[in-house]
């Protein structure tokens, strides 16, 4: 048994309330609790590389590597490199321009655009100032929900690759309630969101059930179910019940106005109540994990299922419950998309949320708060990528490269410490490694 897992068990047993041994990921390693002056604590935190510092350094490193990739593949820059000897300065100027242009376009589309701010002062639209932030939140919403799904399963020692399939299950039921059923205001949207949870939960429950009853590995079942659900939605959209009248395309009718998640700040900004659902879900998952008996069982099963069994817990029933809730969370992500941004069911509705969910869950160290922050970062990168592509014509895949590099670097604090010559210290909130739960 590895050191990390043993530490985890100890934390659960010795510090049931505070979890002080391992902290919440941000506090660990800072060592500010032994009466040293605050300034020194901060300095130590930076030098030792606590998890906040590591995350910042990881993002910085990923940005540098991504910038190099842009600088060495952008056609005008390549052309300038070709003339390196005749005009050496130009190559570096071009490379810098390409990379910095890409990143400033990303920043303007994800956080705040100075031009929009300036325009607002001269009588332009005020909402335009907040549009980038709104887009970031919109992109983060399904990621938070699907990420929580992966994170929760992970804490119970289960590996949920099936967020995409559960997402489709949720989107299908939420969408169907949205366009096929007539219900009054408020009730309709609530029922559809619950339907989304149920749709995902059914798919998730099936995985947990198979694992508990037959031992079928959840990794196999979730991968296979993703494909099954992708073809199932394609099949259903081929039926007249799921189609718009008089159109041959596999698109459902739009969800009724009553069933759409209301916009939070006027009709222009796309940020909607789905974002609040996601935040509430994160709070609920935190409460479930940290404050309930189920949560305690879940974490115990996750860190050592044998020990859990000898303590009188049933890993099997825990698996079923966990997968049910995890599936439901991914289903909520489907409902957030179909009721919040897309409004129709299509064969491609699942996008890339399934795997993005795994990466944000890792980046957030399988903790609810961390998952929210990681989703916001990925949402910002995604929103920024759109702007970058539009303004600089650099392929949007660079954002995928950036995302994966950030996660890689964040996941390996020792690497960041080596690169930036920080003092070595005890593990700063690194996600403990584990094997197949088998």
């Amino acid at each position: 048994m590895s050191e990390a897992i043993r530490a985890d068990v100890r934390a659960d047993v010795s510090a049931p309330g505070g979890g002080a041994t391992r902290g919440d990921g941000t506090g660990a390693g800072s060592g500010s609790d032994d009466g040293r002056p605050v300034a020194k604590a901060i300095l130590d935190a930076v030098l030792e590389g606590n998890s906040v510092v590591v995350t910042v350094l990881a993002i910085f490193s990923a940005v540098v590597v991504g910038g190099l990739l842009i600088a060495f593949t952008d056609p005008p820059v390549l052309h300038a490199w070709g003339q390196l000897f005749s005009n050496p300065g130009n190559a570096f100027v071009q490379a810098w321009d390409a990379a910095s242009g890409a990143y400033s376009a990303m920043f303007e589309s994800a956080i705040i655009n100075p031009h929009a701010v300036a325009a607002a002062f001269h009588g332009g639209s005020v909402t335009a100032v907040f549009n980038p932030l709104s887009e970031t939140a919109v992109n983060a919403t399904p990621l938070i929900l699907a990420g929580l799904s992966v994170a929760l399963a992970f804490r119970a020692g289960l590996f949920n690759i099936g967020a995409a399939g559960q997402f489709i299950g949720g989107a299908m039921i939420a969408g169907w309630i949205g366009f096929a059923v007539n219900l009054p205001v408020v009730i309709h949207v609530v029922v559809a969101v619950i339907g989304g949870f149920v749709g995902g939960a059914i798919v998730g429950w099936f995985v947990g059930f198979l694992k508990a009853r037959t031992g079928a590995h959840e990794v196999i079942v979730t991968i296979m179910l993703n494909y099954v659900m992708e073809f199932l939605i394609l099949y259903l959209l081929g039926l007249t019940v799921f189609r718009q009248k008089g159109r041959p395309d596999p698109i459902s009718p739009p969800v009724a106005g009553n069933a759409t998640l209301p916009h939070l700040f006027g009709s222009v900004l796309r940020v909607n109540a789905g974002f609040l659902v996601a935040l509430a879900a994160a709070a609920a998952v935190w409460w479930l994990l940290e404050r309930t008996t189920i949560g305690f069982q879940l974490r115990t099963v996750g860190s050592n299922s044998k020990a859990a069994r000898s303590a009188g817990m049933s890993p099997e029933s825990t698996w079923i419950v966990v997968m049910l809730i995890a599936g439901g969370l991914a289903g909520l992500a489907g409902s957030a998309v179909v009721q919040g941004t897309d409004f129709v069911l299509t064969p491609q509705i699942y996008g890339t949320y399934g795997f993005d969910a795994i990466t944000v869950a890792l980046l957030g160290r399988a903790k609810p708060g961390g998952t929210v922050l990681a989703s916001l970062l990925f949402g910002a990168l995604h929103a920024g990528g759109i702007g970058m592509q539009a303004q600089t014509q650099i392929p949007v895949d660079i954002v995928t490269v950036l995302q994966s590099l950030i996660v890689l670097f964040v996941a390996a604090p020792p690497l960041m410490r080596e690169v930036f010559r920080l003092r070595s210290t005890r593990a700063a909130g690194q996600l403990e490694a584990r094997g197949w739960s088998g």
Binding site: P250, D342, Q348, A390
Partner: protein, 298 residues
């Protein structure tokens, strides 16, 4: 679109790729805020997003490929292509060229823009059978049951290859893949069969295969073309020169929006009689004497 830029040096092209559906709206908004002359969107998935953007920005010109609106929208040039018509010609030609009396078609995914080709291909073969009292079979699609062979995506080229190998082993000698790049897998299978001494050929789809996949040109009897490029080019140039008029445009054999590509290497191999029959069929379709039914109408 690049052609439009080449034809009019004032036209510059910017292009955005969406990774998820939720990107459509912001992608369109990006271009609106950049004050593009015309925004071209592609595919039925973008239909609603384009419609909403067009209504919110009545002065912005749009074009959308493979989607129409009823009623038409004034500032959207909706470009669709009645590919059942040239698919019909492709089917007729395939039936005429088949020695084994078996021809095959398959799709990437069961989407209307795909099955409309397959419907046309099927119709064309049936019409050939009726005219010649022949019995050429179509593998991989049946218009009546709307069921057939699909690879399941537009990326897995190996699947296109194995599917085509299966068709060939079942005796088909003209293959018509309607699956984008997955068709390259079909071409590879045809090449392999050819090098082992079997006489198998194929028809390319959407573009002239001898231009888009020249390495396989000698296996392409023809290509069942869909004039997206020239239609988009017309729309873009119209927007640039101020003659843009929205509404729905349907590419047909009559207006040249859909067509069979030149025979290239097969110019001498397609019998003259068959070529003239094809011309007659084409005229028949244009005049409406020969019906081209489809369950995925544009």
């Amino acid at each position: 679109m690049q052609e439009a830029a080449a034809a009019n040096s004032n036209v510059t092209v910017k292009y955005l790729q969406s990774t998820t559906q939720s990107d459509y709206v912001p992608n369109i908004n990006q271009f609106i805020s950049q004050k593009c002359g015309i925004i071209v969107t592609v595919g039925f998935l973008m239909g609603t997003a384009t419609q909403n953007a067009a209504k919110a920005n009545p002065n912005q010109k749009f074009a959308i490929v493979d989607y129409t609106y009823s009623p038409a929208i004034k500032n959207v040039d909706a470009l669709v292509f009645d590919t059942v018509q040239d698919g019909f010609l492709g089917g007729y030609l395939a039936a005429g060229m088949s020695k084994t009396h078996k021809v095959a078609t398959f799709g990437g995914m069961k989407l209307p823009t795909v099955t409309i080709y397959m419907d046309g291909f099927w119709d064309g073969v049936q019409y050939y059978n009726k005219q010649h009292h022949a019995n050429v079979q179509v593998l991989g699609w049946n218009e009546q049951t709307q069921n057939g062979s699909f690879t399941g995506d537009f990326t897995n080229q190996t699947k296109g290859e194995t599917l085509t190998q299966t068709f060939i082993s079942e005796g088909a000698d003209v293959i018509f893949p309607v699956a984008g790049n997955v068709g390259l897998g079909a071409a590879k299978a045809v090449q392999t069969a050819d090098s082992s001494g079997q006489n198998v050929n194929m028809e390319w789809v959407d573009t002239d295969g001898c231009i888009s996949a020249p390495q396989y040109c000698k296996y392409f009897i023809t290509s069942v073309e869909k004039g997206i490029q020239s239609a988009v080019k017309t729309a873009v140039l119209a927007a640039a020169s101020g003659t843009f008029k929205g509404g729905n445009y349907i590419g047909t054999l009559a207006n040249g929006g859909v067509t069979l590509a030149p025979f290239h290497d097969f110019q001498s191999k397609v019998p003259a009689a068959l070529q003239s029959e094809l011309n007659q069929v084409k005229q028949g379709i244009i005049s409406g004497k020969i019906p081209t039914p489809t369950k995925s109408p544009v």
